[in-house]
């Protein structure tokens, strides 16, 4: 057991996968000598050589497109998109190709591909280095979309993503890279895709969330327990496609009061789907309307600190919403 930052845990998981399977290789901008602009792949090219960690040309379409081809050939590519905001040139390859290849070939072909991308804001990255893009991909059958938020989960889930015979979008909140530290076992382990995790037990209200917001929700829950005596259950989705429907319904039935928190825009975000599932399958257990606290419907957060703060959900905003929900 060691205490690792999220970025160290992620690197350790990738390193283990590369050591275990020569077919695993990394392809993306600046991933080689530089080790990625966030340094996720630091040291890996020295260890595995220039044909396992390959600097791509600056073109997201070919990063994903070539990785699809390599996956079809039998490799296990990890594509890195430098920022999730820059993933759109690869949209055609992800949605029209990777997601559909198994279906359209009647199971004849499949694409074991991991696409990693740092996402999210609160780091003064403005509109083009702060986006949350997960819900757009979560809409697409054939893709798996994961958003792990703790060092333990990140390491276990990157291994599951690499093992998976399907394309997996692996989103990492860039603010958690160095901010979040946690205990990580030394040996190999897996965290399954499609399973949520109760990160804090509680009986009064439920927060359903993922990514950086998990940590803000945990902070709010601790504060409320101390000041208001409200016991909050915090469910970390970890995977937004597939969703862990059972875990969502179990927590909603347990507390009867649900707040969904995500940094992504409110409208048609993951929260809308979670709310619909609860309304359809756990309506009679509810003691209050399902509430949402999300990023507002602006294209992404602006640069100025005041505007960024206004955009981001925070522990304080979550605590206030939870008080409102508990009192309902």
């Amino acid at each position: 057991m060691a205490e690792l930052s999220l970025i160290e845990a992620l690197r350790a998981g990738i390193d283990e996968a590369m050591a275990a399977d020569e077919r695993v290789f990394i392809f993306g901008e600046d991933v080689g000598k530089r080790g990625g602009v966030f340094r996720v792949t630091e040291g890996l090219q020295d260890k595995y050589g220039p044909w396992r960690v390959i600097d791509s040309p600056l073109a997201e379409g070919i990063i994903v497109g070539a990785c699809i081809g390599a996956a079809l050939y039998g490799m296990r590519p990890i594509a890195e998109i430098q920022f999730a905001d820059f993933i759109w040139p690869a949209m055609n390859q992800i949605v029209s190709e990777a997601a559909r290849i198994c279906y359209r070939s009647n199971g004849d072909w499949n694409v074991p591909l991991v696409i990693r991308a740092p996402y999210g804001g609160g780091i003064h990255g403005a509109l083009y280095h702060s986006q949350s893009v997960e819900s757009i991909f979560a809409h697409v059958p054939g893709l798996k979309v994961v958003v792990p938020a703790t060092p333990y989960d990140v390491k276990g889930m990157i291994r599951s993503a690499i093992d998976d015979p399907n394309p997996v979008l692996f989103f990492e909140h860039k603010k958690t890279y160095r901010l979040i530290k946690g205990q990580v076992p030394d040996g190999e382990y897996r965290v399954p895709i499609g399973k949520a995790d109760v990160k804090r037990q509680g009986s009064d209200v439920t927060v359903i969330t993922y990514g950086l917001m998990l940590h803000y929700a945990l902070e709010a829950a601790e504060a409320l327990a101390g000041t208001d005596g409200i016991e909050t259950e915090v469910l970390d989705l970890r995977s937004v496609r597939p969703l862990d429907v059972e875990a969502i319904l179990a927590s909603a039935r347990k507390t009867g009061k649900v707040l969904i928190v995500h940094e992504d825009n409110l409208t048609a975000g993951i929260g809308a789907e979670v709310a619909a599932l609860i309304a359809e399958h756990a309506f009679e257990y509810l003691d209050a309307p399902i509430m949402r606290l999300c990023g507002p419907d602006v294209p992404a957060m602006p640069f100025a600190a005041t505007l960024e703060e206004a955009f981001m959900p925070s522990p304080e905003k979550i605590a206030a919403k939870l008080r409102e929900l508990a009192a309902y």
Partner: protein, 341 residues
């Protein structure tokens, strides 16, 4: 266009090969013509043609090794897939969207080829998306060879597209990457002068797509796409170059499109009657038949016998596919995720 020149001996093709190439061209043509008839009878909702491309397709595919090389065709490549081993009845299963369609089990429109057993990679309808895949396969081959320190896999990735598709950014990105790492990829542009109704002069400011290869650092070759021997020779040279680890080649086969873009198109709305008539003068099938007859390789009796045999094949394939069952509606949700069924 120049006439087909003798010289087959130099290519390594003997008379048997030339007749085999002609047979595949004829099969592609007769199978294609039958599909149009079925469309006009209301039995097949959609048909897209290879007519005019048979020489390029069969000649080029003849230089590949079925089951070894990776094939990423586009929707016109009926001649390519037939040459590599897809059967007429399998093609017809795709046309009728039968459960036994090896391309997609009736999920995709006809002519979206894909067949893992033959390393024919599944394709989609957005054009050009297959070109990055070919380059990725080339990258996979290169990585394996580099890690081994020698050539352990000398397969090539052969990918085709039309000149209209060469306008797509993904095609540029793919060729750029292939040039950077000298990947074993054969880029094949089957240039028939039209992207549905838009002529080449509205697609690009140059005459030859092949000229672009220089910008990516590898050879580009313009080939008479009506001459199967020339297409074979050019492809073989590119394949051998790629197998030696020397990198990609862009081949541009100048073809004609003898039909409208698809069964939903009417080319009389944008082509003059004179042009349509003139294009017919460049039918590669008639040209190659005339060549084989002039060389004494084929005579009228043999030709008639061939046609008869192939017509029978087409009839049998049509009947078998028409009688085959459609996909079971219960399979609608299968294979969304691989390994989940």
């Amino acid at each position: 266009m120049t006439d087909v020149q003798p010289g087959s001996v130099a290519t390594g093709l003997d008379h048997g090969d030339l007749v085999a190439i002609y047979e595949k061209m004829l099969l592609a043509r007769l199978l294609d013509e039958r599909q149009w008839i079925l469309n006009r009878q209301g039995k097949a909702p959609f048909v897209i043609s290879c007519q005019g491309h048979e020489a390029a397709q069969v000649g080029s595919a003849y230089a590949l090794t079925p089951g070894k090389d990776w094939i990423l065709p586009y929707y016109r490549d009926l001649g390519v897939v037939l040459t590599l081993g897809v059967t007429p009845s399998e093609v017809m299963m795709g046309l009728f969207a039968r459960a036994g369609d090896p391309n997609s089990g009736g999920r995709q429109m006809p002519a979206h080829y894909g067949y893992r057993k033959l390393k024919i990679v599944t394709q989609s309808s957005p054009t050009g998306t297959q070109v990055p895949h070919a380059v990725g396969i080339g990258l996979g081959i290169k990585i394996r060879n580099e890690l081994a320190g020698r050539i352990v896999d000398d397969a090539v990735a052969w990918v085709s597209f039309g000149e209209g598709t060469s306008s797509q950014g993904e095609v540029h990105e793919a060729m750029n990457l292939a040039g950077i790492h000298r990947l074993p990829v054969i880029f094949v542009c089957e240039n028939n002068g039209y992207a549905i109704s838009v002529p080449q002069r509205m697609q690009m400011g140059i005459e030859n797509v092949a000229d672009r290869a220089a910008g990516y650092g590898f050879p580009g070759v313009v080939v008479d796409g009506g001459d199967p021997i020339a297409c074979y020779e050019a492809t073989l040279a590119a394949v051998e170059r790629a197998r030696r680890g020397e990198g990609p080649t862009l081949l541009e086969f100048k073809c004609v499109r003898l039909t409208p873009h698809s069964s939903d198109d009417n080319d009389r709305t944008y082509r003059t009657p004179e042009e349509i008539k003139a294009i017919r003068q460049h039918d590669p099938l008639a040209r190659f038949a005339a060549y084989l007859q002039a060389e004494g390789i084929l005579n009228e009796a043999r030709e008639a016998e061939l046609r008869e045999r192939i017509k029978r094949l087409v009839n049998e394939a049509t009947a078998a596919a028409e009688a085959a069952p459609p996909p079971d509606p219960a399979t609608l949700l299968q294979h969304v995720y691989c390994g989940d069924q």
